[in-house]
């Protein structure tokens, strides 16, 4: 045990080298920097913004529209004169939106004939505020249209509610999950679940990729620096050597994933308040539908995740033995990256449960797949699938550890190489 902890500390120190720490600090700074820029742009977009308005009509309706624009967080800079000249003037100014209300607009609108409002967006770059301004003007005109048509209908049919006339059929949506149902839209429920869990696949992806790369590289570097032979002859069991390499890589992998997540959190300005606002009114619906995770659910998810990390580390250890140097190690970690991408993308863009049987078997045969779907399995009661994943990964880990221990206790740890030209393992 003394020798194991001694070796483990050395492995962690080797992995947590200056280069890694510098790159992690750099990543945090970059994410923070980009996040700050995005937040500033968002604030700009949400703040009162200056737009130019040319009112050539000067009717009551046109003044009402300008008043409404004023209320909708716009600072109005009213222009006068010829349209072409005003367009040229705004183009050369720091304004990027011009609303033109043509002459006769009020008369046409009040007599319910087609009336037009022109908006000119001056693109001076790809910014969030540039897009939101024209969207807000569009939304304002839609509600003005709504207001005018409602007024017209009220005048013509005073006894009838105009909204009832325009939409006589009302709908009530219910969502059913297993034996539970709640009133609400499917879009709201799925949106809320996505907002709650979107970060999870990214965390899983990073943990698996970083941990495996670290194990493969750690073993390959022992070979490249010619230190492995010496290490294998010191009085410590081969199992302890393997375990120290795997555990240190797992721990550093978790740390790296955590730092990445911190960076992402800064990047997305991700906070508890944001989650609450993303969930909106969905929280009570999710509770009614039982789409919340209990303590037992988190324990099961933890088991699935832990076994998956072990699977990745065990597989990486075998691949590490095949690597002769750092360059080969990088090439050998690529298959794992590609394999882990499969469940990652499926969890983001496809539904595992509606996939064809062969495709489903293929996905579930990948040991890294199971935690990607574990949360869904827990929430939607696919517990058989969850337990299958846990047992499957447990067996996979046992077999891989047995194989790894065999390799490390025989000549193969020194003689096993990957021959690229012949594309086969030579023992």
């Amino acid at each position: 045990m003394k020798n194991f902890s001694h070796l483990l500390i050395k492995e962690i120190k080797e992995l947590l080298n200056k280069q890694l720490i510098i790159s992690l600090v750099f990543i945090l700074l970059i994410f923070n920097f980009i996040g700050n820029i995005t937040r500033t742009e968002m604030k700009k977009a949400m703040a009162k913004q200056k737009i130019a308005v040319l009112d050539l009509d000067r009717s009551e309706i046109s003044r009402n529209i300008i008043g409404a624009l004023n209320l909708a967080r716009f600072i109005i800079e009213e222009k006068t004169g010829d349209k072409e000249k005003v367009v040229a003037e705004v183009r050369n100014s720091n304004l990027d939106l011009l609303v033109v209300i043509p002459a006769g607009f009020g008369q046409l609108a009040s007599s319910f004939q087609p009336a037009e409002v022109e908006t000119y967006s001056f693109l001076k770059g790809i910014s969030i505020s540039g897009r939101t301004k024209s969207e807000m003007v569009k939304a304002l005109l839609t509600s003005t249209n709504e207001y005018l048509s409602n007024e017209f209908l009220k005048k013509k049919i005073p006894d009838l509610d105009p909204t009832l006339l325009k939409a006589p059929i009302k709908s009530r949506e219910f969502v059913v999950v297993r034996d539970k149902q709640a009133e609400g839209s499917t879009g709201l429920v799925i949106g809320a679940l996505t907002a709650q869990n979107f970060i999870l696949p990214i965390i899983l992806l990073y943990i698996v990729i970083w941990s495996t790369q670290m194990v493969i590289t750690a073993i390959a570097m022992e070979k490249q620096n010619k230190t492995l032979e010496t290490l294998l002859t010191v009085p410590i069991s081969r199992g302890s050597i393997v375990a120290a390499k795997m555990l240190s890589s797992g721990l550093v992998g978790l740390l790296v994933a955590g730092i990445y997540m911190l960076g992402f959190r800064n990047f997305f300005s991700f906070s508890n308040e944001d989650i609450s606002s993303a969930l909106g009114g969905a929280t009570p619906i999710l509770k009614q539908l039982g789409l919340t995770i209990s303590t037992q659910g988190y324990v099961l998810f933890g088991m699935s995740l832990f076994l998956t990390i072990l699977c990745a580390l065990a597989l990486a250890t075998v691949l590490g033995v095949l690597a002769e140097d750092y360059r080969t190690a990088q090439s050998l970690s690529m298959p794992i990256v590609f394999i882990v991408m499969v469940p990652y993308f499926i969890s983001l863009f496809a539904d595992l449960y509606t996939m064809s049987l062969p495709a489903k078997i293929l996905v579930l045969a990948i040991p890294f797949s199971h935690p990607f779907f574990a949360m869904q399995n827990i929430m939607f009661g696919h517990l058989n699938l969850l337990w299958f994943g846990i047992v499957y990964n447990f067996l996979f880990v046992v077999i891989m550890l047995w194989w790894t221990a065999r390799i490390f206790s025989t000549d193969r740890v020194l003689t096993m190489k990957l021959k690229w030209r012949k594309k086969k393992v030579v023992l």
């Binding site: 003394k2 020798n3 001694h6 050395k10 080797e14 080298n17 620096n225 010619k226 230190t227 032979e229 010496t230 294998l232 002859t233 010191v234 009085p235 410590i236 069991s237 025989t410 000549d411 020194l414 003689t415």
Partner: protein
């Protein structure tokens, strides 16, 4: 007195290639035993088997009464192995490397300190031990590794081509280090294709070629037997 190491009919096969065809020899306490032969003769394979890196295909290796197949951990406790192309952890300072290795063999902190102090003396690297091993020359790395191998005063030090790749001055220093240490009771099993080096260092030698020991004895006895001035000529005549 029982030998420290006894090798009997040792065989090793890599697939169809027979690297060792049944070699036997003994190493006595405080003795330097040299295996000499050309590249590919089976020297490194023999040393790797004794240091528990490779498993023998057949034969028996006994060290201080322990059988290699049954008690490899006993071998690792009392044997120090210096591989031919060994390196140190590049990001570790020389002194940290010695500390790291010493702790595997020491039963407590004070013993580990003793090992490290001894290694500092053997290596002769002085202040350079505070630098990272990645900045060392080949000669310095070799001295560091030799100090690591000898600092625990192992019952048997296995040194594979100990002066491989070193210049004349460094080679001389390393040879003197090895010679000096056997006076303290350490047995040494070394291999080299430099027969003059082995002649200078070894009390007894075995001539190995194509997995077979051709002859063994003290350098003087072998030179007399083959009527030669040095072991290079002895080896050539033994092969013929």
């Amino acid at each position: 007195m029982a030998p420290v190491l006894e090798v009997e009919e040792l065989k090793k096969k890599y697939g169809s290639l027979e690297a060792l065809k049944g070699i036997s020899f003994k190493v006595e306490e405080g003795e330097i035993f040299g295996l000499i032969g050309p590249n590919g003769a089976g020297k490194t394979t023999t040393l790797r088997i004794i240091s528990t890196l490779l498993t023998p295909s057949d034969g028996r290796v006994t060290f201080l009464g322990f059988d290699l197949k049954k008690n490899p951990e006993k071998f690792r406790e009392k044997i120090s192995y210096l591989p031919e192309e060994a390196g140190a952890y590049r990001n570790m300072k020389g002194i940290d490397y010695l500390n790291f290795m010493a702790r595997f063999y020491a039963s407590n902190e004070s013993e580990a300190r003793l090992f490290v102090e001894r290694a500092i003396g053997i290596s002769g690297l002085g202040e350079r031990l505070k630098d990272k091993a990645g900045t060392y020359s080949k000669g310095m790395t070799r001295k560091l590794l030799l100090a690591r191998a000898l600092m625990t005063k192992p019952a048997l030090a296995i040194l594979d081509e100990p002066t491989s790749g070193l210049d004349v001055i460094n080679s001389l220093e390393v040879r003197e280090m090895i010679k000096g240490f056997t006076k303290e009771g350490v047995s040494v099993l070394l291999s080299s294709h430099n027969m003059l080096e082995v002649e200078f260092l070894s009390d007894r030698v075995a001539l190995i070629d194509r997995g077979v020991i051709l002859d063994s004895g003290t350098p003087r006895a072998l030179k007399e037997k083959y009527q030669a001035d040095n072991l290079e000529i002895v080896f050539r005549r033994a092969v013929q």
